[in-house]
Symmetry: C2
């Protein structure tokens, strides 16, 4: 018997697993980024975002519950690649005044990945009429956008000047 | 003799190589996405973006020239991962009405990766007082943002409805 073509609800479930894996990877990476940062403000921003990310993981677990699925991650090569690039920067720019500029760049790549994925999942949830899931995804989407804006400010105000100061 | 710590100009050069590699990968992926898309509007959007991407590659080559470096890419695992996820969607959702929704999601992940990288490079170029590079990077950044907005419209207007139509 030929398999039924996959539908939007499956795409939504796959996307959710991808993002669940990504958030957990990010949760593991943030303390390393906070430890590496030269600027206290930047370290503080990473620490604050770690707390938020714990909340994001819980919200995704609520969305799994809404669609009656067990929370489970699925290997997401995109976020693995983005985080690996960040770790490479930590290694290669250790002791460099440009380290913080590199860390902000890496963190913004992470934020934009999440912004695109949460935006997509929210649109699919809307189409699937999963209203509670739409609210949960929207809440996290807004926090990711705020984090991205904060990183832009930090980059402009502090980090790039430090990188040039030597 | 200990090596000098790396500086912002090196970070900029590394970022440029990363993005040059990414744009070329995207250029190779776009025709496959256009061919796979069910919606003519979506296929058209991918084709139009392919033309823009050729321009983006040329602009990056101009930036290499400004910093007196040879245009050369550097393996960027992040974009490889993002594009692999898109190709997986093409394979798994072939013949599914949800395919286009998946393609838009994959394309928006690409756009957001580029938005973050161009934003970062533009900020660094500004700090390094590379005014001409700032303009070139800004121009592409705006086109990537426009493409992302167009994809959001396409997703809302056409794609998700098709996905639900079966």
């Amino acid at each position: 018997m030929p398999k039924e073509p996959k539908q939007l609800d499956e795409l939504f479930h796959e996307g959710l697993k991808d993002l669940y894996f990504a958030e957990k990877k990010i949760l593991a990476a943030l303390p390393k980024m906070a430890k590496a940062a030269n600027s206290e403000d930047l370290a503080g921003a990473f620490e604050q975002h770690e707390e938020q990310t714990e909340e994001h993981v819980k919200r995704l677990e609520q969305v799994f519950k809404i669609i009656e699925e067990t929370p489970r991650g699925k290997n997401c090569p995109a976020i693995v690649g983005i985080i690996d690039e960040g770790e490479e920067i930590i290694k290669e720019y250790k002791n460099s005044p440009a380290l913080d500029a590199g860390l902000v760049g890496a963190a913004q790549a992470v934020e934009h990945y999440e912004i695109s994925r949460y935006g997509t999942l929210r649109a699919w949830a809307q189409e699937l009429e999963l209203d509670e899931a739409v609210s949960l995804l929207q809440e996290t989407l807004e926090e990711e956008k705020e984090t991205d804006s904060k990183l832009t400010e930090l980059a402009e105000e502090v980090v790039n000047q430090e990188a040039e100061a030597v």
